[in-house]
Subunit: 433 residues, 2 copies
């Protein structure tokens, strides 16, 4: 690729929505990404950045000189600034803050009073508010002033004179309304609200299920902080589920497809190291039975089967429970019913496959006792796997540790260690003279 | 639980949105689920079913006598019927169809002309349409007649006299418009449209990124089929990502948390069976080196480490690539750049951990040659894992096989077989006298 190509690409991208531009930029190797991004219109540059994943965005920031970065940040509004807070060099961030006006500084301070997992931090300030003593004609005037590109702006947020949220005023309900009437006659007070202290996933779910285009975000005195639109809710739901998927492999949801090799190797090394500990623990378990293995080499050949079947069965239960936890479907009332069900499933599949494996083993090694040893080990390991698949994620969730990230390593440790121990232990008991 | 408790629960649930009722019902064991669902208002029964996962819904259908089911289906609209088509007993479905009026029968026939993965099948008929020769007052009248619960209904779909889609008419744009003017002056012709033949994921993405509350779905002659609202798009995006997560463990996204034990054991047995083949292949590879193992039992102790590290490194690459494929980010132009990057990451991490493992192995067994054998095997296996992690999902995607479902089994087969073969092979060469 060259400069010219990037310009052409930039022009093509300009016809897309900012979300699509972001996805397309993330699909480019770093150098091409930068030059294509530079070929975008300055406003699109800012919008596209807002929709990119953190790592991909940082890889653009890193390639920009500080002066260009400062210029870029000057074009951002306060909502962009709040989002990029942690990613900007300190000097650039401070320079941008100093240029905010008084009301923007207040927004910034209010947002920063919440953690980066709470709705209060991300409440969008691009919200149309109207006082509850206004007339219909005032509301109509506000709708008429709306930019054509305004998204999910078909209602106004009504506040009282102290800034407390009162309800929503839907544009369509004002059709044909006499313009001298007060808006209070048309306010929708039924619309749910999102509290600033809720975590972003909960808030996004409320917006998603409300059927409204946007909901108000309020503080603990019900003052209006901003709004979360259905578009933002969808983006949050997507990020959260994508994160769950990436975590199963120990990856961050922000992992950049084209991250520099060194950076990427570093971020993945940790996960490999953790898994290496697990692997050494499994090896140590095997090491306890060196003498047995020397006399019965068939056990060495078969032992990965026991560990693998336990791991697979356990991860099925684990995955089901993680989804249930994410949806808030696992409650103390139903915990034991669920456990009994999973243990039942484990027992049935354990016995079923134990019989098959026993048969194949007999055909292979011509020894019934080896067949019986592996069959017993399979039943026990799959049963333990089902138990662990329920217990581990529930316990991790209680300890506020992400079960999608840590669950599989812990589960594999259990199924490997138990699998090898039971199989080689039974082998030592039944096969050695 | 008893009947009374279920009634209380039913009353509580009635205060929630149908999506929330569906999630709550899925979180209940089967008997309690049925009795709680029965305690709901008939309309809520239908709505909640529409939002439940297929398996959970079927588990309610199975417990209902045919007469009750027929009565239930009689309360459904044609959109519900289309969705439940495959899940209803044939007699019940036929009875319901015979009660549809002519226009509903036409809808049904049109929907069934599309596959169950296309947008045309799921276009929502709950769409307000207006002719392009209408006046503003006609449009205003339509908005005023809207039910208060109507969701994402702040624009009308404009059609010409042959039923061809022309554009959207937003309620807020009509505020203050003279009522005798023709609506054509206010039509938004820029709104994107979804084609009936697009697959549901693509269509949902278009709606999600459009910034509109709903988009028109049209057939290949641009006749209006219905609409997809942002609420439905969000639900589809959620289902699709949840599916990706569940597939990694060989589970269906519809898997019911409280499925009957036998049904659940059956659906999971297949996945265990497939993985057993992989495990036997790995065992067979080990079996090739029985003689070596007998003389060098340390190899048996250490071999799971080689397989495990390859599996973990490979699944990181695999997961990253699957996400990229789902977002349409992997293109032939960037394929080799991506491959070089992943191979680079694999090489760095391979060498890094090989050194560590070599050291630990020396401390454990006091033999440098074993350390060198495992180090070489680790480097080779992690390198092969990175290569396979890119190649396998891309190849599966081309063959139209879901990489989230099949990718991990194939990858594990490769990393197990290569890992054991290289490690034990090198061991035979370097350690045997």
């Amino acid at each position: 690729f060259d400069e010219q190509e990037s310009e052409l690409l930039g022009e093509k991208l300009s016809q897309l929505e900012p979300e699509e531009i972001a996805v397309a930029l993330e699909a480019m190797p770093l150098e091409q990404r930068l030059s294509t991004w530079l070929a975008l219109h300055p406003d699109e540059q800012v919008h596209a950045l807002g929709y990119m994943r953190e790592d991909a965005r940082e890889n653009i920031f890193k390639q920009l000189p500080d002066a260009a970065l400062t210029e870029l940040v000057a074009r951002m509004d306060v909502d962009d600034l709040i989002e990029l807070l942690d990613e900007l060099p300190d000097a650039v961030y401070q320079a941008a803050c100093s240029k905010l006006d008084a009301s923007e500084k207040l927004w910034l301070a209010t947002a920063l009073a919440y953690t980066d997992e709470q709705c209060g931090r991300y409440a969008d300030h691009d919200v149309l508010t109207i006082r509850n003593n206004a007339k219909v004609r005032d509301a109509v005037r506000m709708f008429k002033k709306l930019n054509e590109d305004a998204e999910y702006q078909d209602s106004l947020m009504v506040v009282d004179r102290t800034g407390r949220y009162v309800g929503q005023l839907h544009g369509t309900r004002l059709l044909g309304a006499p313009s001298h009437l007060p808006v209070v006659e048309y306010i929708d007070e039924e619309a749910p609200v999102v509290e600033g202290e809720m975590d972003l996933d909960t808030g996004s779910d409320i917006v998603a299920r409300s059927g409204y285009s946007a909901l108000a975000v309020v503080d603990d005195e019900s003052k209006l902080l901003g709004r979360i639109s259905i578009g933002e809710a969808l983006e949050n739901v997507r990020r959260s589920l994508e994160g769950q998927f990436m975590h199963t492999a120990g990856l961050d949801e922000n992992e950049d497809l084209f991250a520099p090799v060194i950076a990427s190797a570093k971020s993945r090394a940790v996960w490999l190291g953790i898994n290496l500990l697990t692997a050494f623990l499994a090896a140590w378990t095997i090491g306890l039975f060196e003498a047995t293995l020397q006399q019965q080499v068939a056990l060495a050949v078969l032992m990965p089967i026991v560990a693998s079947m336990g791991g697979i069965a356990g991860s099925q239960t684990l995955t089901l429970i993680i989804r249930g936890l994410a949806l808030g479907q696992i409650t103390p009332q139903t915990y034991w019913t669920l456990m009994r069900k999973e243990l039942g499933v484990g027992l049935i599949n354990g016995v079923l496959w134990a019989v098959v494996i026993c048969g194949v083993t007999y055909l292979w090694f011509g020894d019934w006792i080896i067949g019986i040893v592996i069959a017993l080990a399979i039943v026990i390991n799959i049963f333990v796997a089902a138990f662990s698949g329920v217990v581990i994620p529930v316990w991790l969730e209680k300890a506020r540790i992400d079960p999608a990230l840590s669950g599989s390593v812990i589960l594999t440790t259990v199924t490997d260690v138990i699998g090898f121990f039971v199989f080689l232990g039974l082998g030592s008991l039944l096969l050695l003279p």
